[in-house]
Amino acid sequence: MGLSLTRAAQWTTAASGVDKLAPTPMNESLLKEVLCFVEQFSSQHPQEAELVFEEPLQWSTTLVASDFKTDYDISDLDVQSPEKDNEGRPLLQLFPPTVCVRSFSQLSKLVKLADNKKMEEVQACLEENRDPVVKILGPSLDSILEKEDAHTDGLSLVDEGKEEDQGKESDVKVKLFLLLQDLDKQLLSKCLKAMDGRVGLDPDAVRNEVEMLKRYCSEGEKRVLKSVRYTSDYVFSNGCRAPPWRQVLNEICYLVIEPCDTETLYITCSTAGVFLNGGINREGEQTSDVFEDIGALLKSTSPHFAQNANEQDFEAQELPPTQKTQHVESVDAEEQGQLQRSDEQQEKNVHEKAKQQHAPNKAHDRKKYEPCPRWKNLGLVSPCGKTPAGSVPVDTFSESSSESEEEEEQSERRPESDTDLPSEYWQIQKLVKYLKETCQLAIRDVGGLEVLINLLDTDEVQCKIGSLKILRKISHNVHIRRAIVDMGGLQSIMKNLDSPVKDLKALDAETIANVARFRRARRTVRQYGGIKKLVKLLDCVPNLANLTAEQEKDVEVARCGTLALWSCSKSTNNKEAIRKAGGVFMLGRLLKSPHENMLIPVVGTLQECASEEKYRIAIQTEGMIKDLVKNLSRDNDELQMHCANAIFKCAQDKQTRYLVRQYKGLQPLVSLLSKAHNKQLLAAATGAIWKCSISVENVTKFQEYKALETLLRLLTDQPEEVLVNVVGAVGEFAQIPDNKATIRNCGGIRSLVNLLTGTNQALLVNVTKAVGACATDMDNMIIIDKLDGVRLVWSLLKNPCADVQSSAAWALCQCIENAKDAGEMVRSLVGGLELIVNLLKSTNNEVLASICAAIAKIARNEENLAVLTDHGVVQLLTKLTNTTDDRLRRHLAEAVGHCCMWGSNRASFGDAGAVAPLVHYLKSKDKAVHKTTAMALYQLSRDPNNCITMHDRGVVKPLIYHMGSDDEMLLEAAAGCVRNIRLLAQENRKAKLFH
């Protein structure tokens, strides 16, 4: 009854400061219920009625000694009951005006004595004992609950077999508690019913009623009201007219109604009901009672309205039903008989409901406050009239926790009260519980994991096997894995890898395979020598014709060992450890196995390890490419994927590419492209094709299987992992002239250009490369230009990734070289030249080389060269001249050579100091550097000062050497340069002669 008293009863604070029950109809009915309960208690529950309260109920009574009958000990004004408790205190004591009562039987008697004053007595009792339940049963209800818990497993609540008095008493207590709970429930549902009629207005209902009322405003005899109007014409989207800050207080709208017989009424309509307010701008002031609707308010304030409305059969016209939140008359059957904690539950329900009430007013928040369906089903309505909107603290909203959480709480709560449920109920509950993942964690939480791991340290093989069987299963759970490693379980597990019992070893390795899914675990395996032990497990011959039972077990052990190594091989250090332990040879032998369940972990491990150079070499030299190729044709997606991945990683090497072709691996790779639904497989297959196509011979072979056409179809609607590889392959295929036309004819150019707008850097590198390769075909170039591809490639120079920048710059070289009107094309890109010159400030040599190459191409157009010069290309190029990177030197020299063609650039290079370093380039070992350098020097030598510098730096000797080159351009450039130097010398001599 605690809840109904605190929440449902309407308290007012009297002048004395003591809380009083307000004289409302609801309180009255509440008191009646309580009274009825007390009156009947001793006859209905004689046993419980005798229970002595923990603390007496005490209140100021109006009863006097004379009211008590003779079966009380009356002395003067005081009264005592003859019944006493264990400590000799009378169960009823009266020292006017205070009365103390210690049992329900005495309470029952008292109210009977009080006769017509009994209501007042009950009221006074409740007012002065605000928490009667605590007084009756004592504050520590927990002990009772525990007791009660123990009884729920099948035994009846009050077990008569209990001899101990203590037990008996607490049983009675529990029963009494349950009775009080029932009363509370009853009271609460009564209150809710009572409120039923008074709450639950909503904007629609108000609007309908106002429409209705407006019809009464007709002129003439039948006129019931003079006028009905809203204070505001603006309707918010949720149907309310009250301003938002008032909506928060549940107010819907304000009305001004002129009745015929009284003064104008100012009315506030809120979800809680309708009341008169203080007038315009004082809508919040409540000056009347709250009525369930406007009609009711009018009837009570305007007799004219009441009379005429009735006459006109106002009621019969059926006011649109005020929308009420659904009610369930009594609390849901399941909720019956719940104990203390179910109160909280209900309290929560009330909150939830309150939230629901808010929802319509805050349309934008609706979703957030929507109660979960379960609350709705419970159907408890909030005593909203009593809960001013503002009083629901905002943070309780966060309480609307997820349903599942609530569900769990519930399942823990039920057993306390439901004693009559069929056993199937508990069975189902248990099953559901075990289904949950959390139950695996329960093993951890109750210390079961320690037990399991301790078992591993015993001598009993059976125990170890049993323990591992469980560990193997539960180690699929990530938390369990971590827990095992945290408690050092991995070390215990690894000890068994040396066991002579094969079943044990296999289980052990399988468990390690599950546990070693995270880095710390993998490191632990390595640090405790696990890798070596695991590699040892691999020692078997898997492809014998007839295996004995023992050999079969060996193979199984090897398989589990491989599974463990596969997990471990995700760490680089472990890859090395596996290799050092001789794992590559073992894996190579297992690769001969005919069984897919063996091959998958073996190839899985190999492809994982193939990220390391040493493995790639070993895979090739140990002859594994043959087996990998063979297994490409097995009808098992996972195995095919791992094989393709292994080839993908290994085919970076030329010899491997050759071997794949040799073992006829190219065709199966192409056939894998038909499994386009399996994206992982597709990514692996396209990756392998890409790397294999780096060899031109392979591309030719691929063409026999129409690989390019298939690849081009995969340029759209694929995940990026696939696209990167497909585009990479297309880029390689495009190195062959015939394929360029194929790409064009299959619409590949458009697909590629479309991919230029992506963000994946690996993809962009490959796309620009492919576009560049395609651009070497004039017809392709026309399409690229038309599709605005050059601008897209150019804008990739702004990409933060150096690889993308350089790849884009290389592609631009091809585009500029092959475009029809390249000069115009370049000029049309606003800011493009400035962008490219600025990239000369990059610190990445590959970017610098590619940009130099691009500048060399651009500079062929004089106008563009002028712009480049304006942007300071001479100084920037000169700054780079001290590099020792031959690739950069080559393109840098080329750029310098081309940039000499404008204005005074030759002299500027000389002034900036570019000449001396260039002379030094002639000593490079790279022939390509010699050529571009000689050409640049030739250009520079047309400025006399530069000739002097070159001569001083000893340029003549190497140039004379290069004049003997096979390369005509190098030869000519060298000769031209020497000639210029020579001419200058001649001039000088002449000048000396004549002056």
Binding site: V461, I465, G466, P500, V501, D503
Partner: protein, 214 residues
């Protein structure tokens, strides 16, 4: 003296040949070793003429305990009864070797049959809940009070029964047992250790057959 031992040897050889004809899992040489070991264990009959010649219950139990690590009273008793096929309260040479063939070399099927017969305390071809309770009653020595132990064993029996009673007829038949063990080998000795473990078997074979390995 040498005559005696020569005769003994010949006797053993004949016996070994006849037994190895019936016990597949050992060859004649191995059976010879086993007979010699058996004779050693038997020693001189303490009171000749009294009872059938062979290992009596006390000797057998001590072998089970010391050599094979089977120490539970109920189990030792049941294993003895299963070895002693003719029920004459002593294990003869042949019975001993037949029993050992299951102990040392038995297939899973052999072991399932053997264990089930051991667990079927009243030999009615069924293991009832009561029998289970009887066999498991001492298996929770860690719990402090007798009530808790009893309760624990009760739970254990219930769980085990639920897991193994395949046809849900409330009794554990051989086929229930067989199916369960095949699915989960660890259930073979669910109601008590009645077979030697891997290490014991290895040690025994190594000792008895050592001359063959040379």
């Amino acid at each position: 003296m040498s005559n005696m031992s020569a005769m003994k040897k010949r006797l053993i050889k004949t016996l070994a040949e006849s037994i190895s004809g019936q016990v597949e899992l050992f060859n004649t040489a191995e059976v010879e070793c086993l007979i010699r070991d058996y004779n050693e264990r038997l020693g001189e009959p303490t009171s000749p003429g009294k009872g059938a010649p062979g290992l009596d219950r006390v000797k057998f139990r001590s072998i089970l305990q010391n050599t094979f690590g089977i120490s539970d009273d109920i189990m030792m008793d049941r294993v003895f009864r299963k070895f002693d096929k003719d029920n004459d309260s002593s294990v003869s040479t042949k019975e001993w070797i037949e029993g050992l063939s299951i102990f040392l070399r038995g297939s899973l099927d052999d072991k399932i049959k053997f264990c089930f017969r051991v667990y079927d305390l009243n030999d009615d071809t069924l293991v009832s809940m009561e029998e289970m309770y009887h066999m498991l009653k001492n298996c929770l020595p860690g719990l402090p009070t007798k009530e808790e132990r009893d309760e624990g064993v009760k739970d254990l029996v219930e769980i085990t029964f639920k897991k193994m009673d395949r046809d849900h007829d409330g009794r554990l038949s051989f086929s229930d047992f067989e199916q369960s063990v095949k699915e989960e080998n660890l259930l073979l000795e669910a109601f008590g250790t009645c077979l030697p473990n891997f290490k014991r078997v290895e040690a025994f074979e190594q000792r008895v057959f050592r001359e063959l390995q040379k």
